[in-house]
């Protein structure tokens, strides 16, 4: 390759940039997005990502259902969301352009792989004429680049098939974006070396594609400006980039260690929960046992069996799997064994939209079982927080001898952000002792404070006893049909869970303690709500944000917090589930704001809704 001559380009400093990579499922857009994210994260930007992939594994090439996208936002200040709208759209084919253009605001940069705009590809997605030349894209800042051809030229002489060459064109696009945003190619080159070290030609082809894209940016006359997003001022510490599912898996492993119990994970594959199974399966040297069961019922049954034996029994799934597990969750409620139930929510009902996010299983996990069946529910708010709430779920399950639902969603599970590594040694010891003392042992005796029953595991001499799903007599645990006993046991089980409220942090308020509007949220809507509230506050509104991590029981101060505001707004990615609970529980006239499109909220939507409420009297 000849040395390139550096053109003088203007450098513009920006606080934040949002890029969306979109292409065919086979175009490697997820990898491209992930590489850019890592690079930005290592550079020190705050980041937030939103992968958006099709449910079809291999939809027909070039078709609309086959479009895969990855949006990432990187910033020099603290950000909470992957951005409402991209500033830049990289579209690798007509299908990607067609399905994503609607999100790109006028004036936004549009980088397009011109080579893919063949009559056949245009026809496939219903373009009557080529939008790159017919003037229909004039509202955007269009860069039509023959990525395929330029890339093939760069790879000449490597002896690759045209298909192999084609597979690297995403790295050409990535290289170009690295140039445009002044990012180093080093982390990706290192990744290529690690990944393809044993296949030098493939490694070389990816390196060349990447560098060719970068060099193209430098030499072409097309771009007159590059952009610089300085590092963010994050709190000091060691950071890594992490997705919610990764953070959760780590949280559970660490919690198991801090509890001194072996972790057993029984699961049946389902999007978007499977990654937790995949990840835990690689942690065997941490004493982790994973079990791919024949169905969700077997998965939870095995977890209950493991807990019965004294392990930390866990199961994980998404909404449809929770439906199958409900009867067994109730068994764990009745026999009062610790159990972690992971629900990575996706858009329902039924099979719904498997790869899309939603928060609509809240009522299911709280009430979707026969009988009064109280269990604890926790929900992380950000990908990094998945670690903390996983740990919290285990703490509660062991201490209160109860099933705990860890309620995440597709957006948290696959979205990434920088995570400051916790100091493992300073994490609390959450171990609980097995019952071994014979004297005075009764299977349904309770700890006076937590109301937890003793955990007497098989193998403990002298404590042989029987448990099961039939109602238990208080203290003795023998089968009982006594009417008053049933009433007592129902209230005891409820009181045990309600009592957890005394053992969890108060609901924190961001903003004034009194004011015109409280926006209350839970789960993955945190980022959008927080950003919206920051904007509203900057505009001088007396608006606050509170975000629930414990959904059963609620923090003790919840009612008092809500009473401080003229209006309470609850935005949810469902049709008003927390809203129903809050209204019923606290008799506050809260209003909901619901959007169920399989996507996170846009900040602007929440701002607009809040402004509408603030304008009302």
């Amino acid at each position: 390759m000849t040395t390139t001559i550096k053109r003088p380009v203007e450098v513009l400093e920006l606080d934040r940039v949002t890029i969306r990579f979109a292409g065919d499922s086979g175009d490697g857009m997820q990898l491209t997005g992930t590489q850019f994210t890592r690079t930005a994260a290592v550079f020190g930007n705050d980041i937030s990502t939103l992968p958006d992939f099709p449910a079809e594994i291999r939809a027909p090439a070039g078709s609309l259902p086959g479009v895969s996208g990855f949006q990432l936002s990187f910033s020099s200040s603290d950000i909470h969301t992957p951005g409402d709208q991209p500033d830049v759209l990289v579209a690798m084919n007509p299908a990607a352009l067609k399905s994503n253009l609607g999100d790109l605001p006028p004036g936004g940069a549009l980088i397009v792989n011109e080579d893919a705009f063949t009559p056949g590809n245009l026809n496939k997605v219903g373009y009557a004429s080529n939008p790159l030349v017919d003037g229909s894209l004039s509202s955007w800042n269009l860069f039509a680049i023959p990525i395929g051809a330029l890339n093939s030229r760069a790879l000449e002489g490597l002896g690759l098939t045209s298909k192999q060459v084609d597979l690297t064109k995403n790295f050409f696009a990535l290289g170009l974006m690295f140039w445009l945003y002044e990012r180093s190619m080093e982390p990706t080159i290192k990744w290529i070396d690690d990944k393809f070290g044993k296949r030098p030609v493939i490694a070389e082809s990816n390196r060349r594609a990447l560098k060719a894209g970068y060099a193209f940016g430098e030499t072409t006359e097309m771009f007159h400006t590059t952009y610089r997003v300085p590092a963010a001022h994050l709190p000091p510490g060691t950071y890594r980039n992490i997705t919610g599912n990764e953070a959760a898996a780590l949280g559970f492993v660490v919690a198991g260690q801090k509890a001194g119990r072996n972790l057993f994970y029984g699961s049946y594959p389902i999007t978007p929960a499977s990654d937790i199974l995949h990840q835990l399966a690689t942690y065997k040297n941490f004493g982790v046992k994973t079990f791919q069961a024949e169905d969700e019922i077997a998965a939870i049954g095995s977890a209950i069996g493991a807990s019965y034996g004294g392990a930390l029994g866990m199961t994980g799934t998404s909404g449809p799997g929770i439906a199958l597990k409900s009867e067994a969750i109730n068994l764990a409620v009745m026999v009062e064994l610790p159990l972690i139930v992971i629900d990575v929510q996706r858009a329902g009902p039924s099979t719904g939209m498997p790869t899309k996010t939603e928060q609509a299983d809240l009522l299911q996990v709280l009430y979707g079982r026969n009988g009064d069946s109280p269990i604890a529910v926790v929900a992380p708010a950000t990908p990094a927080e998945c670690f903390d709430l996983a740990f919290e779920a285990v703490r509660l399950a062991l201490k209160y001898m109860t099933p705990v639902v860890y309620l995440s969603d597709a957006f948290l599970a696959t979205g990434a952000e920088p995570w400051r590594l916790p100091d493992v040694d300073s994490l609390a010891d959450i171990s609980v002792a097995n019952r071994t003392e014979r004297a005075g042992f009764h299977p349904y005796d309770r700890d006076p404070v937590t109301l937890a029953r003793p955990w007497a595991v098989p193998g403990t001499a002298g404590l042989e006893h029987r448990i099961g799903g039939l109602e238990k007599a208080d203290i003795s645990g023998n089968v009982s049909y006594d009417p008053d006993n049933h009433h007592l046991m129902q209230t005891l089980r409820a009181a045990k869970i309600a009592g957890i409220a005394n053992d969890i942090p108060d609901l924190e308020v961001f903003g004034p303690a009194q004011g015109d509007l409280m926006i209350l949220g839970w789960g993955s809507t945190y980022g959008s709500i927080r950003s919206a509230v920051e904007r509203l506050q900057a505009d001088g509104h007396a608006v606050a944000h509170a975000h629930l991590r414990h959904l059963n029981p609620f923090p003790n101060n919840t009612g008092a917090v809500l009473a401080g505001y003229r209006r309470v707004l609850i935005p949810e990615l469902n049709l008003g589930q927390l809203l129903l609970l809050i209204r019923a529980r606290y008799l506050v006239d809260a209003v909901g704001y619901d959007r169920v499109r399989g996507k996170p909220f846009r900040i602007a939507e929440i701002v607009a809704e809040a402004e509408r409420l603030l304008a009302e009297n």
Binding site: T238, Y239, A299, G301, A306, E327, G459, A461, G468
Partner: protein, 356 residues
């Protein structure tokens, strides 16, 4: 009561072999009787199964705190309450799943699963299939009364075609399945059949079940005297049982009959009952039972009264690596390869950066 010695046998020192029994504990039948009042209908076959189970438990020399009985729902499901061991009465059809997790977490325990024909083959069919194919080290005892007892008399997956029950007043139009064929198809490493009233045979069978490592499935033909009385009377009654049941013994010719004058042979591919001494038939013509031969096992799982004598005894017994052995081996291999996991390294992952 004998004071149990608290030895938790380790997997390296397999407790479940007759040679080891002596070093463990000496218990009696009474040690296994719980303080709970037994609540089956008077005359129910379940009483005998319970009694034989309690009787054989001391055979294994296994501390009773290391024995767990896990059941599903049905009349049979109550058995764990009556055993003075650890017990878990779970939910309908799911006992094998709980047993699988327990055994995975605690390979040191001896785990029995008590189930019924509906529990195991209808609602829990999937779990039976998969626990067997995984060779989970559990001992499944299925009480087959060919009816739903607890729910008061509906047809079950083993009810005869055409059977009139409350839910099938015009006769069931579903074909029954053979529990033994199912177990075999699911690759169970131990398969047997016995009869509630055949107490000595039942004890001997349960004893064999107890010593087995791996998934054991035993069908116990059980009389529900309330909803399906006499289901097996034609071949289990004292006067006829020797003529109508074939008691299997490994390595022995398949002979039966009060006068031990009949036997089973293969005529081409077909099993056939022959009379010894007739048409030149001698013992040498008979099939020799082989507990390791799946083809013999399958043939035995297909023959039944009235066309054939009903085979009872151990049909199959092979030693294969168990699910918990394989799982433990993978954990050990991971530790050997990568060392005991280091939490700090795990959290750090492959790429971090420092913010000052």
């Amino acid at each position: 009561m004998t004071e149990p010695i608290a030895i938790a046998p380790t997997p390296e020192d397999p407790p479940l072999s007759p040679e080891n029994a002596a070093v463990l504990v000496q218990l009696t039948r009474k040690d296994f009787v719980s303080d709970q009042e037994v609540r089956w209908c008077p005359g129910c076959g379940d009483y005998s199964i319970l009694a034989q189970t309690q009787k054989v438990m001391p055979d294994f020399g296994f501390p009773k705190e290391n024995i767990v009985f896990i059941s599903g729902i049905g009349c049979s499901g109550r058995l764990p309450y009556y055993m003075n061991t650890y017990g878990f009465h779970t939910i309908h059809g799911r006992a094998p799943t709980i047993a699988t997790g327990l055994k995975a977490a605690r390979p040191d325990l001896m785990v029995w699963v008590i189930t019924g024909d509906g529990d195991a083959l209808s609602i829990g069919g999937n779990h039976i299939l998969h626990s067997m194919r995984r060779n989970v080290d559990i001992k499944v005892v299925m009480f087959n009364n060919r009816i739903y007892g607890l729910t008061k008399g509906q047809a079950s997956p083993t009810s005869e075609f055409g059977k009139v029950t409350k839910s099938t007043p015009a006769g069931t139009i579903d074909h029954p399945i053979s529990p033994l064929s199912v177990a075999l198809a699911a690759e169970a490493s131990f398969i047997a059949r016995s009869v509630d009233t055949h107490t000595e045979h039942l004890q001997a069978t349960l004893n064999r079940v107890g010593w087995h490592h791996g998934s054991a499935f035993v069908e116990v033909l059980q009389n529900c005297n309330i909803f399906n009385d006499g289901a097996y009377r034609e071949f289990t009654d004292r006067e006829v049982r020797e003529d109508r049941m074939l008691v299997l013994e490994h390595g022995k010719p398949m002979i039966f009959g009060k006068d031990r004058d009949r036997g089973l042979r293969l005529n081409g591919h077909q099993p056939e009952v022959v009379r010894l001494g007739e048409n030149g038939m001698s013992e040498a013509d008979l099939l020799i039972h082989d507990e390791t031969d799946p083809l013999i096992a399958f043939m035995l799982s297909r023959i039944f009264w009235p066309e054939f004598p009903v085979p009872v005894g151990v049909i199959r017994d092979v030693r294969l690596p168990t699910h918990d052995e394989l799982m433990t081996a993978q954990v050990e291999a991971a530790v050997a390869q990568r060392g005991v996991g280091d939490i700090h390294a795990l959290l750090t992952g492959s790429e971090t950066w420092l913010v000052e």
